[in-house]
């Protein structure tokens, strides 16, 4: 079983992303968090296989959260969902091995990350 954590302060954004993921990976379980602290607590509970993080959130932003997650979970597939594609953000995301998902989120914009992550998760389990 695969569990995806969706982190976004916008309920709407979580719904939209959840729907896109459900269409592409209907077997996956989806859990949600509204900010970085909730996300870390949810991950500490265990069983999260991959995460999609909003960038611009109150408190710690998604990139800070991604770097923290990466340090603790070297092989977890992580993506940053944002319309803010500035060079500095792209560079930091690349250094932390974090993918990008363009906002507004559509099935097309998440497809690449989800299939790459699915392959990676299958290969680490066998």
């Amino acid at each position: 079983m695969t569990t995806l954590l969706i982190v976004d302060d916008s309920k709407l954004a979580r719904i939209v992303l959840g729907k896109a993921v459900a269409a592409l990976q209907p077997e996956w379980t989806r859990v949600e968090a509204g900010n970085a602290d909730e996300a870390l607590a949810r991950i500490a509970d265990g069983a999260v296989d991959l995460a999609i993080l909003d960038f611009n959130m109150p408190g710690r932003n998604g990139l800070d959260l991604a770097e923290e997650l990466r340090a603790a979970h070297p092989s977890m597939p992580i993506a940053l969902a944002t319309a803010n594609v500035q060079d500095e953000i792209i560079a930091r995301a690349r250094d932390a091995d974090v993918s990008f998902i363009a906002k507004p989120v559509t099935e097309d914009s998440v497809r690449g990350f989800l299939s790459g992550a699915a392959l990676k998760l299958r290969s680490t389990r066998t």
Binding site: S10, L12, I15, F55, M57, N84, Q86, E88
Partner: protein
């Protein structure tokens, strides 16, 4: 902070904030290309307040003289978008967008043109993204550079009582530029009929992308 006093429900506020967030994030990426430095953004805040309170909010945030680039928009909903920063930051912004190639006189000469162009990129980028997501075209006026305090920016009139009593949707996002002494904010103002129109468009938008899950 979000205070909309019952005009918008929670999901409508959430949707509007997210729309603005996506618009401003794209605009920030365009501005990054113009100035070569990272543009940092806050999460959008949304309030429905009287114009007087909106002007006070501006005044409380920035004490001194302000410069703003103003663009009015009109369509299914109408309003005014402003890129506002302290007067003291204005020339630093002009230097940043002109790539530090101008001397002092050149910077002063180019000031209004550079400000208009910057405002246009940011405000137009933000509004165009919102218009596209809501599937309604917006007409935008040419950018105008204005100087003054919050009262002047919102054109509060002493003689027209409706200009101070009417409520407005006041949206603002702080921005700053990494490595430069440039900060300010983006504000958007819409009057009550526009808030009503926007509610309808947001409902359509939610129906389109969320469908039955919205409730």
């Amino acid at each position: 902070m979000t205070r909309t006093g019952g005009y918008l429900d929670e999901l409508e506020q959430d949707a509007l904030t997210e729309l603005v967030n996506i618009g401003v994030s794209r605009a920030a990426a365009s501005l990054r290309k113009m100035i070569g430095h990272q543009v940092l953004l806050s999460v959008p805040a949304l309030e429905i307040v009287s114009r007087t309170v909106a002007a006070t909010l501006i005044r409380e945030r920035e004490g001194g003289d302000l410069v703003a680039v103003r663009q009015d928009f009109e369509g299914a909903f109408s309003g005014r978008a402003l890129l506002i920063f302290p007067e003291a930051n204005s020339l630093a912004l002009v230097r940043a967008v002109t790539g530090d190639e101008l001397d002092e006189a050149g910077v002063l000469e180019m000031e209004d043109e550079a400000l208009s162009e910057t405002g246009n990129v940011v405000l137009y980028g933000c509004l165009a993204t919102m218009a596209n997501m809501l599937k309604r075209p917006l007409e935008m006026s040419l950018p105008a550079v204005i100087r003054g305090d919050g009262q002047v920016l919102f054109e509060l009139s002493d003689t027209d009582p409706s200009s101070t009593t009417g409520v407005v949707l006041f949206l603002y996002i702080n921005f700053s530029v990494s490595g430069r002494d440039i900060r300010g904010y983006i504000a958007m103002l819409m009057d009550l009929p526009s808030i009503e129109a926007l509610k309808v468009l947001i409902a359509e938008f939610l129906e389109r992308i969320v469908g039955a899950d919205a409730s």
